[in-house]
Amino acid sequence: MRLAGRGLIDRSKPVAFEFDGARHSGFEGDTLASALLANGVRVMGRSFKYHRPRGVLSAGSEEPNALVTVGAGDAREPNVRATMQEIHEGLQAWSQNRWPSLGFDLMAVNDLAAPFLGAGFYYKTFMWPRSFWEKLYEPVIRRAAGLGALSGQAGGERYERAHAFCDLLVIGAGPAGLMAALVAGRAGADVILADEQARMGGRLLAETYEVDGQAGHLWADVVLAELDALPNVRRMGRTTVFGAYDGGTYGALERVLHHSGRRPRGAPVETYWTIVAKRAVLAAGAIERPVAFRNNDRPGIMTAGAVRAYVNRWGVSPGQSVAVFGNSDDAHRTARDLLAAGVHVPAVIDSREDAPESRDFELRRGAVVCDASGRRGLEAVTIRTAQGEERIAADALAVTGGWNPTVHLTCHMNARPVWRDDIACFVPQEGAVPGLRAAGACNGAFSTATCLREGAAAARAVLEELGRTVRDEPLPEAEDDPYRIAPLWAVSGKGRAWLDFQNDVTVKDVKQAAQENFRSVEHMKRYTTQGMATDQGKNSNVAALAVLADATGRGIPQTGTTTFRPPYSPVAIAALGAGAEGKGFRPERFATSHAASIERGAPMIEAGLWYRPSYFPRDGESDWRQSCDREVGYVREAVGVADVSTLGKIDIQGKDAAAFLDFVYSNMFSTLKVGRVRYGLMLREDGFVMDDGTTARLGEKHYLMTTTTAAAGEVMKHLEFVHQGLQPDWDVRFVSVTEQWAQFAVAGPKARELLDGILDAPLDAADWPFMSCGAVSVGGIAGRLFRISFSGEQGFEIAVPARYGAALFDILTDRAEALGGGPYGMEALNVLRIEKGFITHAEIHGRTTAFDIGMGRMVSAKKDCIGKTMSERPGLLEADRERLVGLKPINADGRMLAGAHLFREEDPPVRENGQGYVTSVCHSPMLGQMIGLGFLKGGSDRHGEIVKMWDGLRGVTTLCEVTGPVFFDPDGGRMRG
C-alpha cells in the first residue's frame, strides 16, 4: 500500500515491470520488494524445504525470503534479492522454488510432513541401501530442494575485473561512513567510499531523525555533494565490499547495470574490484534480528527496521493495520513512524515489563506474540500476557529482537567477535583485521550521534597514522537515544518457530541438535543447516546460537559463533572469473609468420602459449602424412624453411658471462670461440636435466642462449636466481629477446644456395663451418646467421629484428619453392629430429639425467656446475637405468605409439615386468617405416635385442628392434657438409 506524500521515490517517474508475468507499476527509486509491497503483493517466494509461502522480511542484502529470478535466456540470473533489485522499465522477475505457481505449490506437501523432516532427517533417512545414495536419493533430493536455476547457457552478460588503490576505504555510507569519508576527504586523503545500496545514506534514509537540524537524508545529500566535489574522494555505489584479505586488500562487487534494462555496448553488468587500501573504516551498520515464535514466517511479518524503511524511504506500508512486537525502544519508534504516516497500529507488544509508557498507541508491556495466522498473508497475531492469550487482528507485524552489528569483515582473517552483554550482541574484536577499524553500528554504537562520533574518530586516527594533519571540527547535532534492550530470542510454546527462514530451521531443530549431542555451534550448524543458505544466516545465526546456548546450559560467549568467511553476500562465479574466460585465461602468442601460415592453410597447434604451423597442405593431399612426408623431403633433398622464433632467446652479457655459463651448463662455454655455437645441457640442482639448447658466443663478453619453447620462462628465472642468489658478485646480465628477433631455420642440401641469393654478401663456405655464427646483412637489414641444425641436414638459422620477420618469411619460402623446396611445419620438424635422435622435452621430461640420454660425458669433470654433485649419485649412474634408445618395428608395417610400454618379448605385459617406455614416434619417410625413441632398462647395452612394445589403452602390441637413437646419417656427414 503506497502512502501519500512519503518516501524518497520519484513520483514523477513511473516504472512498469512484471512479476510472474503480471504487470505492475512502481516509481524510480523503488526496489522490486518495495514496488511489490506497494502493489499489494505479499507472497514473494517459497521456503527451501517446506515450501512455505513467504513475504519479504527485510529491506536489505540480508533478505532470506524474497529471492527471485531476473532476466531471460542466457541473461537469466537466479536468487536475486528483491530487496536489492531496483526496478526499471521492462524488468521481468519470476518467483522461485514453486510448482506450478507461487500461489499453489505442490511441494508444499512437505509442510504437512514437517514432523518427519526435522533436523538430521536426511542423515537418518537416506542411509540405506548404500547403492541408492548416488542413483536415487541425491537426484531426488536435489530436484525437490533448491532455489532458482541457472540458464545453462554460456556468457549472456559481460563481467569485468578492476583494481583500485586508496589511503582509506570506507565500507558503508550511513552516518558513520559518511562522517569518516568527510573527515578524511577534507584532510586530502585518497578516499573510496563504497556502499552496497543504490543510494547512499544507510539508515538515514530509513529513519525520521534529524541531523544538523535537517532531515537525515537531506544531511546525507549535503555531505555527498561535498564529497563529489572533492577530487580525492571516489564514491562507489551499488558496491558490496565482500571480503577482507591480507595486506589491506579488499574484494568488492559493483553491480553496474542490474538497475537498468539498457546494455550499452561493452558495458559490464558487474565489476569485480580488488581494492588495496592503506587503511579501512568498516561502517557496515547492523542487521536487525527477528524474534522466533510460532508461525513467525507468515507473509506480512517483517523486521521493524524494514517496516520503517518501507514507510520512510519508499512510502509504502506493508499493511493496513500493522502491529509491532519487540524488546527495545525501536518498537515504539516503529509505531510512531507508522502512526505519523497514517497507518493504523492496533497494538505495540513490548516484552519488557519496564517499557516506557506511551499515550500514542496501545502498549502491552511484558507481553509476547506467541502465534500468527494467515497462510498466504498475516491475518492476526496471538499475544500472551500475564492475563492470558488474546488475538489481535493485523495484516502486518513489525518485529524487532535487537540489532546484530555487521562484524563479518572483521572476522575474515580468523578473528572472532566479542559478546557484549549490555547491548546483547557481538561486536568486532579490535585489531581483528590489520589496518581496519570498525565504527558506528557495526561496532555496537547504535545512536546517530555515536555513529557520527565514531566515524569521525576513526578517520582522525587513520589520518594521524598516515601522517596527515587533522583539523578538529564540531560534529553535527543528532539523536543520541540510549539503546535499551532486554534479550528475547524465542517465545516458548508449541509449534514451529523459525530461526533461519531460507533453510527452514526452527527453534525445535536447534534444540534437537543439542539433544542429539551436536552441541558445538559448528556441529549444530551443519546438522540443522542453520545459516547455510544464500543469506548465510545474517538475521538468524545469533538467535540460533542463543537458543543452542540455552539448550546446552552455556552462555552465549561460551557457545561462540560459527566462522565468518568471504564473500559477505553472494558473488557470481562469472564476476570472479571476469577477464579470464576464453582466450583471457590463455592468451595467444603469434610468430611473425603467423598470418602467412594461416594463408597457406596450415593447421596451427599450441606450443605453450605460442601457435605454430603443423604442416602446409597442398592441393590434392588428403591427409597430414602426405604433407609431412613431402615437407621432410624438402629438407632432405632440397631446402626447407621453418619459423623457429618461438624458442627462448636470452641475451647474456658481462665480464663474467663465460664463467656464468660454465656454472649453469653442464659443459664448458668459456672455451667457446667468438663466432661459434655450442649445444648446452642445463641441469637442475638435483642432477636431472632441466633444458637444452644452443648458445652462441657473439663477443668476448656477449652470448646468446636459446632455450626450448616451453622452458623459456623457467630458464630465465633460473638464470636470474643463480646469478642473484648464488653468484651475486659476478658481472653478468640477462635479457629475454625472444620477441625481438624473428628466426627461421633454412635447412637442406640447397640451404647455402638459397641464402646466397638473399644475403647482401654471399657466404664463403670456409667462413661458415658447422656451428659457426656471425653478423649478416639481408636487404640492408642487420641480421644474424647461425649454422646449426635440428634436422641433420646442412642448416642455418637466420635472425632479423622481428618487424622484418613477416617479409623475410615470404622471401625465404618463395626462394625455397623456386629451388624445389618450401616451408615445413612442426610435424616434419619432429620427423626430422626423431630420425636424427635429437631430444625434446618428450625425452627430457624431468625424470631423466644426462647419463640416461647418453650425454653423461657432457657433465664436465673440469668444473663445478648446477646439478653436478647430485648427478654423480651412484643410483643415477647405474648401467641398468632406463636409458635412451631407438626403436624400430621388426615388420616394416608395425605400429608404434608414444606412451606405450616396453617388455621383454616373452614377458606378460604387467607392471612388474616393465622395461621402459616410448617417448616419441613418427613415420620415417627415409626408412619407410615407423621409428621411435624411448627409454629402456640398460638400453645402451641392448642394441639389436627384440623387445615388445605394448599399448594397453589402444590395444597395440609391436615387436621392435632396439637400436641406437640415431636412425639417419649416424656420423653426421650431411650436417657438416
Binding site: Y245, T249, E720, F721, Q724, T869
Partner: protein, 87 residues
C-alpha cells in the same frame, strides 16, 4: 597478499613467483658431503610461524627476494634482495 619489493614498492602477490625456502641460497661446496647436499636439495622445514622464502618479482623488476612471512598470520616481515642477503 602484498609484498614490498625493495626496488618497486609494495605490489600484489600476483606479480611474484614463489620458489620455496631461502635454504636454496646456502649452496654447499661440491665436496661438502652427502648429508649437506641432501639437506640442501631435499629437506625443508614446514613451520607454523615465521619463514624465510624466495620470491621472484617476475611481473616487475626481475629481482629475487628473500621474504620473511608468517604462515599463521600471513604477515610479511622483512624483505631483502637475495643478492644482498647471502652471508
Amino acid at each position: 597478499m602484498r609484498i614490498p619489493c625493495p626496488l618497486c614498492g609494495t605490489r600484489d602477490r600476483r606479480e611474484f613467483w614463489y620458489r620455496g625456502a631461502a635454504v636454496d641460497l646456502e649452496r654447499p661446496a661440491p665436496d661438502a658431503g652427502v648429508e649437506a647436499w641432501d639437506d640442501f636439495v631435499y629437506l625443508r622445514e614446514n613451520p607454523a610461524g615465521p619463514t624465510r622464502e624466495l620470491w621472484y618479482h617476475e611481473g616487475g623488476c626481475g629481482a629475487w627476494l628473500v621474504v620473511e612471512r608468517d604462515t599463521v598470520t600471513h604477515e610479511i616481515g622483512r624483505v631483502a634482495l637475495a643478492s644482498e642477503e647471502r652471508s
